[in-house]
């Protein structure tokens, strides 16, 4: 369903060229969960952002293709791409506090994609937003609807982020370290919620993490990145039973020492 091939991305930092991605290739099938694992700086987030061309202006895609349902997203016009973003491909980000707009109520922000993409009236969008809040297991949806992000906890804000991302029933959800900023118990709740929603809605999931224990819990396949390269890709159990690459082994060593009990 999503097929990235030979993706090269450079950053131009005041004349210095930094190669962020060097020929990244990966694919996500329908209803599949692919975890992209790697240290910080390995290019996980850049890969995620380049899918819908959300990279900052200093970045340049020098070559490669990103096929989604038959279209190369890199060649799509800005207008056509806008119909894909949020509607077909949605994101959840790491810091729930920073992707939400602090001056709008969370309800307002959940309604935005519904008004924009689905063409619902405000009354319909309001009703749908309350449904979405219930879907992500938020009690007292009405009270939360009229709250501002700073009045809610990190876990709660991440639930809002999930509700927003699911508003248009996307076919691909890209989750960029969605639980890194959360407590372990909250992390478990959010991961369970994601798995449950995934089986209910049948979307594909591209899950980015530096923590192999999380990847092991949710992914069908794992792709390990290091310094802009995909160094290894295999079924989850295979990665753990017979890791091939040095950096995969390093990730597993960390996972065994402090990523699990």
């Amino acid at each position: 369903m999503l097929e990235i091939s030979n993706l090269h991305v450079h950053f131009d930092l005041n004349g210095t060229i930094v190669k962020a991605l060097c020929g990244v290739a990966l694919g996500v099938g329908p209803k599949e969960t692919l975890a992209v694992a790697g240290e910080s700086g390995s290019g996980k987030t850049v890969t995620a952002l380049s899918v819908t061309r959300l990279l900052p202006s200093s970045a340049r895609v020098t070559s490669g293709e990103i096929y989604f349902n038959g279209d190369d997203l890199l060649l799509l016009g800005e207008g056509a791409l806008r119909k894909v973003r949020g509607k077909e491909i949605a994101y959840i980000f790491q810091e729930p506090g920073t992707f939400l707009n602090p001056v709008y109520t969370v309800g307002n922000q959940i309604m935005e994609p519904l008004l924009l993409h689905q063409g619902l009236s405000r009354a319909e969008a309001f009703a749908e937003a309350l449904k979405l809040l219930a879907l992500v297991r938020i009690k007292q949806g009405r009270r939360v609807f009229f709250s501002y992000p700073h009045q809610l906890s990190g876990g709660m804000n991440q639930r809002i982020g999930i509700a927003m991302s699911l508003a248009c029933r996307p076919r691909l959800l890209i989750a960029d370290e969605p639980t890194t900023a959360l407590d372990v118990t909250t992390e478990t709740e959010i991961l369970d919620l994601l798995c449950e929603l995934k089986s209910n809605f049948g979307f594909s999931l591209l899950f980015i993490t530096h923590n192999l224990s999380i990847a092991r819990r949710i992914a069908d396949r794992i792709c390990v990145m290091h310094k802009g390269f995909v160094v290894e890709e295999a079924d989850t159990e295979r990665i753990f039973s017979s890791p091939q690459h040095f950096h995969t082994k390093e990730l597993i060593r960390a996972y065994q020492a402090i990523g699990t009990l």
Binding site: V184, H210, R253
Partner: protein
């Protein structure tokens, strides 16, 4: 026992309305007692909001408790600010962005008169060597380093005063797992080498298991369980500890 904390409570006033009247009281810590044996690591675990950082700040004498006392073994800790150091969670906030690394390392050496001005550079290099960083770091600024490297610099700076005890408040929580493991290994080596006592705070039970000899479990400001690391992990007696173990084991 190098540290002995008895019946510590800490309340924060909630102010609101006109004239900042006191409208409520947050009980951050309630009747917390514990001791730390010399050259051991006490792990303090709990979720955010459980009072871990408040406890760290009280032990480090950065804030005063509302009730209770923290006593130190005066035979070993006689110059508090030299003998007890603290490493904070966020290495981006705990290094002055306008100080070169050498200045950050020289400052504690000068304040505590641990080196003459012409020895400073050698001392600083020695400290950087312990945390496996090279000479080139000296003239650079914190912004030029990654999170893991900055935390190494913070460890070097803490070691500058030849402390007996280091309080580590979630020192690795903002870092990748692989970098966390490398730093934990470093912290264990340093502990052996200098016979340090650690007060290690984390919300991650696996990290606590890797580091600690004794553990305190905090929930909403109260100790719900304390004891040796192995007993606690094999036979948790409090349901909250059991639930923490369950989430970590998933």
């Amino acid at each position: 026992m190098i540290i002995h904390a008895a019946h510590i409570s800490k309340y924060f006033a909630v102010e609101g309305g006109m004239y900042k009247r006191r409208t409520g009281l947050v009980r951050a810590l309630e009747d917390v007692s514990f001791s730390v044996r010399e050259s051991s690591t006490l792990g303090i675990v709990g979720e955010s909001g459980s009072g871990k950082t408040t406890l760290a700040k009280i032990v480090a004498r950065l804030i005063a408790p509302s009730k209770g006392t923290v006593e130190f073994d005066l035979a070993r800790i006689n110059n508090f600010r030299k003998d007890v150091q603290i490493i904070f969670q966020n290495p981006y906030a705990s290094l002055d962005p306008k100080m070169r690394i050498k200045e950050a390392l020289y400052e504690p050496l000068l304040i505590h008169r641990l080196a003459a001005p012409r020895q400073l550079r050698d001392k600083a290099l020695e400290l950087l060597d312990i945390v496996e960083m090279g000479e080139d770091a000296l003239v650079r600024f914190p912004a030029e380093f990654s999170g893991g490297q900055r935390q190494r610099i913070c460890i070097a700076r803490a070691l500058a005063t030849q402390p007996k005890c280091i309080i580590l408040d979630e020192p690795l929580s903002s870092l990748d797992l692989t970098i966390q493991l490398k730093l934990l290994e470093l912290l264990l080596r340093v502990k052996e080498k200098f016979r340090l006592t650690y007060l290690f705070i984390s919300h991650n039970l696996s990290v606590i298991k890797y580091m600690a000899d004794f553990v305190i479990v905090l929930q909403e400001g109260r100790i719900v369980e304390q004891g040796g690391m192995h007993e606690l992990f094999s036979h948790p007696s409090h349901p909250y500890t059991a639930s923490l173990l369950r989430s970590a084991r998933r």
